[in-house]
Structures are given as structure tokens and as C-alpha cells.
Homo-oligomer: 212 residues x 2
């Protein structure tokens, strides 16, 4: 496995094609958000065909690599492989972590979504680089999301984990400081950056609240 | 690339989870249809999560391998890789054929959907094992299908191709003989087998019409 740097999780942007306005919008959002301090990018386009996803991912990689920031693909390890992305992020119903690791190899990032303490206990710690824990608060961008954990629920899972972690779900400037105080390595956002007037300002504002 | 046997395309079953009644139904349909003479199976479940798809594919592989029939996965090369399926089938908007070949290796099957003479001309013949040409007739199971080719349209594409080919789209016992007379190596069916009272009888009836 790579020597994964938990500091790269500090401000984790999940791109949403609808909020950003398609491929062009996601590329522009990424460019701006990187200037605002984003440290990690995930391409998540669950309703897109893979040809379009791969094309967009290749364009995004030019942007992220220029700033040394990782780009992972949500769900589709085959797309990650095809475009030589930095890794894949999978949920509990997606391809198993060991299959992703076998497909992508030791040098790539494999992230896993965690919604409950039990899922955290069952996470294959030797195969996963980081966990995404959430949703912390009520959120609107993920249709099939689990119930919100709240700050105490988040803290319980973080404290039980030895893996680098990023919190997700309803995080914005107003609550970012309280979230990072639970011990997570970073925060992940969708609508707090995607579709905002200035993704750069939005990212900078979030970044200023991260106390770690 | 494998020494792909065009005879395996003779009667090609595309599994539909809705018509078959879920994973159990697809496994039962496959068992019966193989007894009726099906020579190739594709798992196509575009709205399923990959964990469930992989689980179902593993169960299907036990059934198909016992009879020496290939099983390919629609669209998801990563699932095909994870379960060690016999290959993948991709459409024009899915992952590119060269990426699938690179991911799965030379020993696996890569099939490509072709809807127009132009797509046939642009098909990477050195990387593809077979093409699926269609839709021949009006069909109801694929939501985003192209306009029907008709028998003459099919024949034009088949004659322009050096690759093994299977025709798809609205094929049933009544028109199967006319379809095979265009020169294709086989016919692919969905609703002519999935969801019928006896998939075995349905397959045997289709098989009896294949003149090649």
C-alpha cells in the first residue's frame, strides 16, 4: 500500500455534476476550489456513462496533478484503472475493498464509506487507506444516504478507528470547526463548494475553520 | 487475445433481473436455458449496485462453467475482473475497448455493441472478440436503444465486418431464421427467454430456428 498522507484529507471535495453544471463546471469548480485550499478531489457521477466519466476524469487529473492533489473515482474501479486516477472510493454496496485493491494495485488509494460503528469494526484496515464517515448532519446531495450520525456519533466511530478519516454530510463553514474537533483528519463537502458563486472563497472559508 | 470460438455466439442469452425476478430468477433462468441450448450468457443489471452484481455473477459462473458456456458482464469491467468472469460486454458509451482489454488481459472476452455501419468501421478489430449488432427489430427491454436496423441494415453491417457477430433486438422464434440468414454467427435474446414460462423450451425453440 502507498504511504498515504492523512493531511491530504484536510479539505476533501466531492464533485457533483448536477450542482457544478456538467463536466466543464466540475473542471472549473476544481480549478477554483484548489486555489481555495482543497486537498483531495473525488469524482462522483453515479448516473453518467463511463466513457464520459473517463473523459472528464482525464481532464480533472491534469488540474489536480498540477497541484499535487489526489483524484479518486467514486464506485468505478474500472474507470479509475482506465484513466490511471489516484484511486477509488467505494461504499458498502459497491465492489469489495479487496477486489479494488487487487484491481488497482498497492500504489493506489482505496477509500471506504462508513455509516455505523459496526461497519467501522468490519473495515479491512490493512487494505483501506482512509474512511469517509457520515453522514454527520442531514444532507441533500446523496439520495440513498444513511441516517445522520451527529457529532457524538461521529466521534464514537472516529475514536474506534485506527484509519485516517474524513467526515461527510451536511458540513459547512458554520459547523466545520465542531466537526474537526471530533478527531477526524478532515472534512468532505459537496454542496458547500459545488454550485457556489465562488468555489475558491467557499473552500478558503471552510479551510479557515479546520483546526487540525 | 483468446482463440474465441464464434460458435459460442449461436444462442446468446442476456439476463434481465426485472424480467427474471431478481438474482434467484436469473440463476434459475440460466440453468433452464442452458438445458434448452443457450451457448453464451451476459449479466446485464444496469441499476444494480456492484456488490450484489458480483455476488450474482459468482453464482451464475458456477452454473455456466459446469456447462462450458461463457459468462460476460455488461458494462462493468471491474465486476468482471473481481469475479473472474469470462469477459465484459461494452456499448459505445461505456469504457473503451482498449481499456477493457488492458484491465482484463488477453485471455478474456471483450464484446462490443454496434448500432451503425460507421461504428462497425471504427471498431478496433484487433481488441474485440465479437460484436453485438442491433437492434434488429423494435424491442422493449433496453431503454436507451438506437433505432431498429431491420434485416437489410443488419446484413449490411455483418457483410462489412470480419468479426464474429451476434444480432440483438426483438428476436424471437418467428424471425430467428431470417436473422441468422443474414450471416451473423448467432442471435441474442432477452425477453424471448427471460420471464417465459419455460426458459428451457423457449431456448430450444429458438435454437431450432438457427440455420447455421
Amino acid at each position: 500500500m502507498t504511504a498515504f498522507d492523512p493531511a491530504s484529507l484536510r479539505l476533501y471535495l466531492v464533485l457533483d455534476p448536477d450542482l457544478c453544471g456538467g463536466a466543464e463546471g466540475m473542471i472549473r469548480t476544481t480549478q477554483e476550489a484548489l486555489l481555495g485550499g482543497v486537498t483531495f478531489v473525488q469524482l462522483r457521477a453515479p448516473r453518467w456513462k463511463k466513457r464520459a466519466m473517463a473523459e472528464c476524469a482525464r481532464a480533472l487529473l491534469e488540474v489536480t496533478r498540477a497541484r499535487g492533489v489526489p483524484l479518486v473515482i467514486d464506485d468505478h474501479a474500472d474507470v479509475a484503472f482506465a484513466v490511471n486516477a489516484d484511486g477509488v472510493h467505494v461504499g458498502q454496496q459497491d465492489l469489495a475493498v479487496d477486489d479494488c485493491r487487487r484491481l488497482l494495485g498497492a500504489g493506489k488509494i482505496v477509500g471506504l464509506s462508513i455509516n455505523t460503528p459496526d461497519e467501522m469494526r468490519r473495515a479491512p484496515v490493512d487494505l483501506v487507506d482512509y474512511v469517509g464517515i457520515g453522514p454527520v448532519f442531514h444532507q441533500t446531495t446523496k439520495r440513498d444516504a444513511s441516517p445522520a450520525l451527529g457529532l457524538e456519533g461521529l466521534r464514537t466511530i472516529v475514536e474506534a478507528s485506527s484509519l485516517p478519516s474524513v467526515a461527510i454530510g451536511g458540513i459547512k463553514t458554520e459547523n466545520a470547526r465542531a466537526v474537526t474537533a471530533t478527531g477526524v483528519d478532515g472534512i468532505a463537502v459537496v454542496s458547500a463548494v459545488c454550485g457556489t458563486r465562488s468555489p475558491r472563497d467557499a473552500a478558503a472559508s471552510l479551510r479557515s475553520q479546520i483546526v487540525r
